[in-house]
Symmetry: D2
Subunit: 128 residues, 4 copies
């Protein structure tokens, strides 16, 4: 299954060359993951159980620059490689359909003492 | 008394015109306040008592642009106008001593139920 | 006339208290202004003539906190007090219609040598 | 040779869990690279020749969280794998000497038409 987060490049996200700053791509993928958790109804239960999906590794390839007012689509697929939940994000310029970047983000569900926890059924359900 | 926070303008803080982005000035003043609370030994007690110094108003005048690698000094003075604690921040280019901006930030100490709390002695002590 | 910029509060825009960070409100108003310039067809001509709408003063009152996934509307009205163009932004929680903040942002149109320039007809046109 | 950029974790860089936000690590490595270019005396010549060191890939492993007021050291080593200039950044908590993250950032020197350019002697000089 594929999840989509949409946004438009904002003026304050540009670097001094007029391109979307590299770190903001990473932030876009973060928001894609927040939306997936929210849509799966997991955000509140994570908060109440003090669970946290931490990023342990990010690998991002920048393929094309993005500019002010470019419409952007972050398409996400998830796979489970126990104990890791791996998010595959494609960042696409919606206008010309060209892929601007692709990122693989490895995450781990931990509790306050940093002990890895089982991935809840609701989250596994949306993967398949 | 006057408190000083020092920094250097970073590449990722620039806007597409090559100037320090307007919102980052506000962030610099925020960090100046974090340091003042930390130096007064108040951060931990605020956290444990779930107290929060919220900003209710910010007035900032931008006087000169700041550029990459400019050394910057944020000089802060505090005054108490009950129930408000008011921070007067001067943002100064350290190299040429020219004031780049001045901000007045009005804050209120509240608890989790948003009820205004008394300003602790330790904080009043550093004002005078 | 009133201009509207809409967004949803993102996970990476929160501060350590789980509220929208103060500086991000300022960034929202910045994006509202970029959109107004773009919609008036002025962005390209500003770039080619090397004109710049600089902020000389911002006054913002924070009235209510904003939280993750709150839908937000920035409603903007503009007035011309020569030589200043003044943007009045209301930041509204779209769900409960409560105003979260209001900001007045004073701007000046300058060229590369920082000399104030006349406001172009197209921009004056959208004010009235 | 090893280059060091030092900073302290700021309040406005924290996420809603009170940890340094993942994207800010990336920004720290960006600033480390800006400083290396500046120290090599290359920033101005890059600007005047309209050359740009673009990031084509970033691989970052997050090993330990960073918290408010943690002193941080970004240690960078560079190697040249033509046509790529590769930056190896270690992000280290200065207090306990524990590595918080390590990042490998692949860059390419291009001109305005996106044509890869030779790495200038001054930059190669600082690698060896």
């Amino acid at each position: 299954m594929k999840y989509t987060f949409e946004t438009t490049v904002r003026g304050y996200e540009l670097d001094s060359y007029g391109h979307l700053n590299n770190a903001v791509y990473i932030s876009y993928t973060e928001q894609a993951r927040w939306e997936i958790l929210e849509n799966a109804g997991l955000l509140e239960s994570f908060l109440s159980k003090k669970l946290l999906l931490v990023v342990t590794e990010t690998n991002i390839r920048y393929m094309r620059e993005l500019k002010l007012f470019d419409d952007v689509k972050v398409e996400t697929q998830i796979r489970f490689e126990p104990p890791y939940l791996i998010f595959q994000h494609d960042i696409i310029n919606s206008t010309d359909k060209i892929k601007a970047a692709k990122a693989e983000v490895k995450t781990l569900l931990i509790d306050r003492e940093r002990i890895p926890q089982d991935i809840p059924e609701e989250l596994l359900a949306i993967i398949n």
